[in-house]
Assembly symmetry: C2
Homo-oligomer: 293 residues x 2
């Protein structure tokens, strides 16, 4: 199948590579061209604009940074919609606003173009190992057509409902991760302050009621002082802001998530650590402590 | 081996039953006698006081509610120490203050009595299925002597260091669980408000970066409106209070844990739901929402 991929960052590049490995013909575009180099070496074609990617593809994936990037890449003159026709299926994997996903789907529908929102969970490891979880919103027919592609890049695909439902499911996911990341960070701070062996603590906690994916995957990275982004802190902050805006619209007061957002705000906006992975949150606490002394 | 068990609540009774099933001779005491009935029927002997339990046992486990209960059961006239001698090994499985664990160990040492702090994680299910995690503080020699007993009731036993280290490790564990429980609660509130199928959400989140023990074990119970205590909310609140007191002593500001404590305070102290399990936290949020309308 002819596949297009727009946005080849940490996650996008790994997903695109898996689609290439599955034998598909791949055309790529990324704002920073150098990030497509490995894919092009592996056999992908480069196109100069998102529009040109779509013109050469049956199914186009987008995975960019922020809702504004999504809006731009879909609606600009050289954008996704400019190159689409009634045969095109568009899949936005960016974690973005449910309302924007609905807007894109409605615009697509008005022109006979099928659109799905399909954000993922599982981080860089999940993207590389094709063990992601894909959360889809949109019409059943389009979903069934591209499901075999999702299955090449993930171990779990779920259609949650109409346009925007994939984004809502992803928000639910990020709210959960806000809990595991803040919990993990504070657990390790306590562990070190109490003089316990943090490796023993991670090992014991993994076996009981405290067990979680962040603990198993980010715990060891933190102990190695490895803050390489599996998932950028600034993207996670964006997700939490969207989740809280949506929650606010629904009349929900989610205080744990709001507290996590404030902590990531300090990390990204005050300490300028947004290019670290989400596990870098612990560096913010350390700085707060040092300054208080 | 002759084993004593003082405190046969939800957790204690299940652990004691596993020790009985392993072929040990068991003597039990509980403040509310009726809670020992099933154990006595299964072959355990009843003793009228903690002191009498100890007098008939080589190893005595205690698992009571709060630090003040621990202090009382160890130091009162008819208490644990009153019946102990240099052959006795005492194991407190109550989640309690690290400083109290140190005090008990020091008092024991001054009289030649071996004492361990050994709180557990894994809830009612872990206690029943002997899949608990045991976090131990105290001397290596006493630890080695009773390790085979721990192995009958758990799947993971770790000696973390001297007296109090088991309690510190348990605090680290509870800080992590504060993150998973608040995250899970807010995830489900968001899910319902967004009109997503909560079973599908739990299923998808279990497969990705949001995966955790609370989600898998308490998520389904919440969807069934089952707030039966696997672990009492009032006990969890006690644990969080201890954790934050200890963190404060160490100069740590753990804002996510502090926020979780405030939420459980509302549940236990304002809405009087302390006898529900920790998963009942979601009922507090619902009430807040209704009142704001």
């Amino acid at each position: 199948m002819k596949i297009g991929f727009v946005g080849t960052g940490v996650m996008g590049a790994a997903i695109a590579q898996n689609l290439l490995d599955a034998g598909h013909e791949l055309t790529v575009f990324n704002r920073t061209k150098s990030k497509t180099a490995a894919l092009v070496t592996a056999g992908a074609s480069w196109a100069d604009t998102p529009k040109k990617v779509v013109e050469q593809s049956e199914v186009v994936f987008t995975m960019v940074g922020f809702p504004n990037d999504v809006k731009q890449v879909y609606f600009e003159d050289d954008g996704i919609f400019a190159g689409s026709n009634e045969q095109t299926i568009l899949i936005d994997m960016t974690t973005s606003k449910p309302s924007l996903a609905q807007k894109i789907a409605e615009y697509g529908a008005s022109r006979g173009i099928k659109v799905l929102d399909a954000p993922v969970s599982g981080g860089d490891i999940g993207a590389k190992n094709a063990t992601l979880t894909v959360m889809v919103g949109g019409q059943e027919t389009a979903y069934q057509q591209v499901k075999p592609l999702f299955e090449k890049i993930s171990k779990k695909v779920t259609l949650f409902g109409p346009a925007g439902a994939g984004q809502h499911a992803k928000m639910a996911n990020q709210i959960m991760i806000a809990g595991t990341m803040t919990g993990l960070t504070e657990t390790l701070l306590y562990t070190k302050a109490a003089g316990l062996d943090p490796h023993k603590v991670l090992d014991a906690l993994s076996a009981g009621g405290a067990q979680n994916w962040s603990l198993s995957n980010y715990g060891p990275r933190i102990l190695d002082d490895d803050y390489t982004p599996g998932f950028f802190a600034r993207h996670f902050l964006k997700d939490l802001r969207i989740a809280l805006q949506e929650a606010d619209k629904m009349g929900l007061d989610l205080s744990a998530t709001a507290n996590a957002k404030r902590l990531y705000e300090v990390m990204v906006d005050v300490y300028d650590l947004g290019d670290q992975g989400t596990q870098g949150l612990i560096n913010t606490y350390s700085k707060v402590d040092k300054e208080n002394k």
